[in-house]
């Protein structure tokens, strides 16, 4: 892993607005946030509070307009498309929906995250994908296509995919939104477990009060600002 100084995520005075000129609608104002190594941070807040935008900025999916954002040692302010794509390869993404490729098996889906690394062999990739699926507890369903998996299983595959490339950071956007209480809880706990073991920090946007207990820190946002930060149940426990 490329080494870097400082925290995996370091945001300074981040501001962001949609639209231009008079129509510009600010969604983020003066956001300062730092995520330490291995830290699990939950972002909560009402919809429209800017937490998703913040996540896309950190994930290098959007250009930074104002302020400075250093993610995994890469300064994103003024970074070009090529640098941003390169950074994305070092981040694991988990979305509301699993977004698995329906025409690939679970194993092949996970292997897609490894294909970006030009120095791996196909057999190696599939083997590692299998290991990852074992790690998320659905090793026996490795050859199933997503259509034949339950919602919870699919999200587990998505977790395996996000972790397969040994990311330096995991960004998750409401990973439990499409799941029932039990499987949602299982998936995030699994995610937490695996991330903790590797020391990978997680930034997770959620509305779901049932999973707040996995956090080291909970950051509440409202109207584009961070309004409160509290230690999570995990850290307190």
């Amino acid at each position: 892993m490329r080494s870097f100084e400082g925290a995996p995520v370091e945001l300074r005075d981040i501001g962001h607005a949609y639209g231009t000129g008079d129509l510009a609608r600010p969604v983020l104002r003066d956001v300062n946030l730092s995520v330490g190594p291995g830290e699990i941070v939950l972002l909560t807040g009402p919809s429209g509070s800017g937490k998703t935008t913040l996540l896309t900025l950190i994930g290098a999916l959007r250009g930074v307009q104002k302020g400075s954002a250093t993610v995994l040692g890469q300064q994103l302010a003024g970074a070009g498309e090529r640098q941003r794509v390169a950074l994305r390869r070092r981040i694991g993404f988990i979305f509301q929906q699993h977004n698995l490729l329906g025409f690939l098996t679970a194993r092949q889906n996970v292997a897609m995250a490894l294909e970006l690394d030009g120095r791996t062999r196909e057999s190696e990739r599939l083997e590692r994908a299998g290991d990852m699926l074992e790690a998320v507890g659905i090793g026996e369903r490795a050859e199933s296509v997503p259509a034949n998996l339950s919602g919870g299983q699919r999200q587990r595959v998505a977790v395996a995919r996000a972790l397969a490339g040994n990311p330096g950071l995991i960004l998750a956007d409401e990973p439990t939104a499409a799941l029932d209480k039990q499987s949602g809880g299982e998936v995030v706990r699994l995610l937490r477990e695996l991330a903790k073991r590797r020391g990978v920090p997680i930034l997770l946007v959620t509305h779901d009060p049932r999973i707040l207990d996995i956090a080291d820190r909970i950051v509440a946002m409202e109207d584009g600002r961070i309004t409160a930060t509290e230690a999570g149940a995990s850290a307190a426990g």
């Binding site: 925290a7 330490g36 999916l61 329906g102 030009g118 995990s234």
Partner: protein
């Protein structure tokens, strides 16, 4: 489930895999071996460019995606195949037209021809003075020159009495200047009055001469207003200008077409002395003869005839247009398939982009899908066209032949067609924006 964790803010982990404080480092913590995460390795150094990976990975992704939806794949292949067959048939007809339009000329074997410059095609010739044939003999390299008379007359089918226009080719068959396949053994019989040689490859509407000749021996048919004796068969083949051909001597031609003046000829066929320089002789003939004739080699005469059909008629355009339409329809089908494949997978594509796949990688995947369709559609298209060439060729008596050249041309056309469809569909990839995924 909650484990106590003390963080070390700001301090980078000493080990990629496990942090010093990770709970797993404590000996009392046991876990199933399957939970062992695969060891992270040193990665993302500068990767050498690997052309095989560069092309094969998107190709494989494209193939897997195409394969997943059998019905869609089948309709895409059918679309490409349709375009393929259409283009093959159009090009086949076009080439058959030109080949058969020039069948008569191609089978007239002589070294040099004289023709009136205003003659556009052999079936409607402009006449010029017979004297040109004699003038040509002035050159020492010219061994013989025979005038050729062309006309169309009605032929009465000896089997059912129906009438049909037939092309008459009258010339001095003895002179040995102009030859048709199968003519040599008939030279003597054609000297007799009112005898003709019939083109065995004429359309069947003229009657099955081959069978009749075998059954009855030489027999009489009505050509124009005269009974002529069919004594043998030659091979020329029907063309668009004439469905059937009849070769006869100059004298018999005059008997049949009484209104034709002997002095007005349609072509002059010239035989050169062995070892004569064709080009030089042509040049000298052109200098020698008045401007009412052009001097052509046989290849040039064929080209003259072909140019007529290509340029003076819309036939060439029609077939080119037909081919183009086939390609456009095929392109639209392929574009539709690719486009709906992309729009149906926008979220997945956006996810791939978020994972660090470039737009370029996905573009290569889309293009690969297009080219897979090109290959998968071309192969059955080729087979079907081959079959159709055979069937249609038999039914229409057109020389429809599958040539390597044409197969290559069509494959390239289909390839370009699918490629363009892929390039068009690729624009849809821009809609897969990973920033909209959250």
């Amino acid at each position: 489930m909650s484990t106590s964790v003390t963080r070390a803010p700001g301090a980078p982990p000493p080990d990629d895999r496990l942090l010093s404080w990770a709970p797993e480092r404590t000996p009392d913590h046991t876990r199933p071996p399957s939970w062992d995460a695969p060891p992270p390795r040193e990665r993302r150094r500068a990767q050498p460019f690997q052309p095989l990976r560069f092309l094969l990975l998107p190709l494989r992704l494209a193939w897997r995606q195409l394969r997943a939806e059998k019905a869609r794949l089948a309709s895409a292949i059918a679309g490409v195949m349709f375009a393929c067959v259409l283009v093959f048939m159009q090009l086949g007809f076009r080439s058959a037209l030109f080949d058969s339009a020039t069948a008569l000329i191609q089978n007239m074997r002589a070294d040099v021809f004289l023709m009136h410059p205003l003659t556009t095609a052999s079936f409607k010739p402009e006449t010029f003075p017979r004297a040109r044939a004699h003038q040509a003999l002035a050159l020492p390299d010219v061994q013989a020159a025979v005038p050729v008379y062309l006309a169309q007359a009605s032929w009465r089918n000896p089997e059912n009495g129906s009438k049909r226009a037939v092309q008459l080719i009258g010339f001095d068959t003895e002179a040995g200047v102009m030859d048709f396949p199968g003519l040599q053994p008939l030279v003597d019989t054609l000297k007799r009055p009112d005898t003709v040689a019939f083109d065995a490859r004429s359309r069947p509407e003229f009657g099955d001469m081959t069978r009749l000749l075998k059954e009855r021996g030489p027999f009489e048919v009505q050509i124009g207003n005269r009974m002529m004796e069919v004594t043998g068969l030659i091979e020329i083949g029907p063309s668009f200008g004439a469905d059937g051909n009849v070769v006869l001597s100059e004298v018999n031609f005059r008997r049949l077409i009484k209104e034709r003046q002997v002095s007005a000829v349609d072509l002059v066929a010239i035989k050169l002395k062995p070892g004569a320089d064709l080009e030089a002789t042509k040049r000298r003939l052109a200098e020698l003869l008045p401007r009412d004739v052009v001097v052509l080699s046989q290849a040039e005469l064929v080209k003259w005839e072909r140019d007529y059909w290509e340029q003076a008629t819309p036939i060439g355009f029609i077939f080119a247009f037909g081919s183009l339409m086939g390609l456009v329809v095929g392109m639209v089908i392929v574009y539709q398939i690719l486009f709906s494949d992309i729009s149906g997978h926008l979220r997945e594509y956006a996810t791939l982009k978020a994972m660090g796949y470039t737009n370029f990688f996905l573009s290569r995947a889309v293009l690969s899908a297009a080219l897979i369709l090109a290959v998968l559609g071309f192969l059955p298209g080729l087979g079907l066209s081959w079959l159709l060439y055979d069937q249609v060729g038999q039914a229409t008596f057109l020389p429809l032949n599958m040539t390597t050249d044409r197969a290559t041309t069509v494959f390239l056309l289909i390839f370009v067609m699918c490629g363009l469809a892929g390039l068009l569909a690729m624009r849809k990839l821009r809609d897969a924006d990973p920033a909209d995924m959250f």
